[in-house]
Symmetry: C2
Subunit: 253 residues, 2 copies
Amino acid sequence: MRNLLLTLRFDGSAFHGWQIQPNGVTVQAVLGTALERILGHRPNTHGCSRTDAGVHAREFYCSFRTGNPIPADRLQVALNFYLPPQIAVLACREVPAGFHARYGCASKTYCYQIHNARVRDPFLQGRALQEAQPLDTALLAREARDFVGTHDFAAFCAAGSSVQSTVRTLRRAEALRTGEELRLFFEADGFLYNMVRIMVGTLLEIGRGKRPPGMLPQMIADKDRKQAGYTAPAHGLYLWAVTYPKNALEQAQ
Amino acid sequence: MRNLLLTLRFDGSAFHGWQIQPNGVTVQAVLGTALERILGHRPNTHGCSRTDAGVHAREFYCSFRTGNPIPADRLQVALNFYLPPQIAVLACREVPAGFHARYGCASKTYCYQIHNARVRDPFLQGRALQEAQPLDTALLAREARDFVGTHDFAAFCAAGSSVQSTVRTLRRAEALRTGEELRLFFEADGFLYNMVRIMVGTLLEIGRGKRPPGMLPQMIADKDRKQAGYTAPAHGLYLWAVTYPKNALEQAQ
């Protein structure tokens, strides 16, 4: 059996997230159908993360096993032919047998896009959160830095989520502006359910003046979801980049 | 009667162009319905140009007369409330009685967006022409310069168009690249029907090596539509900017 790795990009607007669901069209289901047409069987695909409905992916990784000998570059071309225009396969390559797109992941970066302008932009519909109130980029950048480090992020995890540990290490939390577009970047070894959207919602409430600045360290320490901010909408969120350990993708010769 | 000027931005994907048609949803028709709800009458709207089905507008101007005393800023807010998300009113202001968005226009700039990459980008679907073959930006920029000047552009006008004169003055024709995005800009006092799309189609055929470079001056001189290139698809085209003569927008006090 070969182990193959796909790099995908998708516009999440049309999908109920990555993972196969009984109701709703998902990226994994659509990909499975295209793979089945080409490979003659429907492989078990492992995505690097579960993205929610409406969340986009600039870079998403997915691995699966197949006995089909189709060359990786031909599989890429065939997939791009069969997949809908909302999904693109940016790369396809053979990886070592033990590689797993989800468990093998070293870090992920998410980007939350805010269109900070009084009037909406038709070209950003479903692609950014429109925020009419002017946000202070420097303030958000300063506040976001309080998230950086190894913390128990229980306050920033959707209720009802069952994970063994809510401790994560955030390596980067930044706010960058280009004109009316404000982008918040978060890089971590892993994220809890809705973690980025709750961190963004909390930062937005600070930016809107509804919460005082300087409260994030206490909020993290209290581990109480009710003290953190709202869950920002999915349509501004992008899985931006994913890294794997050096050599993890290299085929042993 | 007051004369009002709207600055619009619209994603043309969902529309059969600007101008009202018996079949198909147009920007002018949708705008007319929203204006009627607010003003109590449906004004005769004058658009700065007729954009084709699928063509986008980063900046589009439209003027109309009304006796309704609603303040311009309140009309903008009300229109953005009633219009679909694909259309935004960026500005609304009172202009002199004699002002006409179409006839008063001094110059227009169109931009044609090409996504020059082997694999499509889901975020550019319907927003740029995907071209897999690498295009030489410097070559296209050099060729495009041959369009600049006052010429009879009959060879670059869709057959069946009836205009008094096919002479236009092109002030700017440029090719600029940022990574995989190649943009062609054209500024003129006015454009013939499909003129930008035929100029772009001709440049693309040169870029793809299907036509030798250096032939544009002869092609312009021959005034034969059949010698020019194909009509590039609508979805890469944007009405980018429109200028009016200095003081034309100023209300006499």
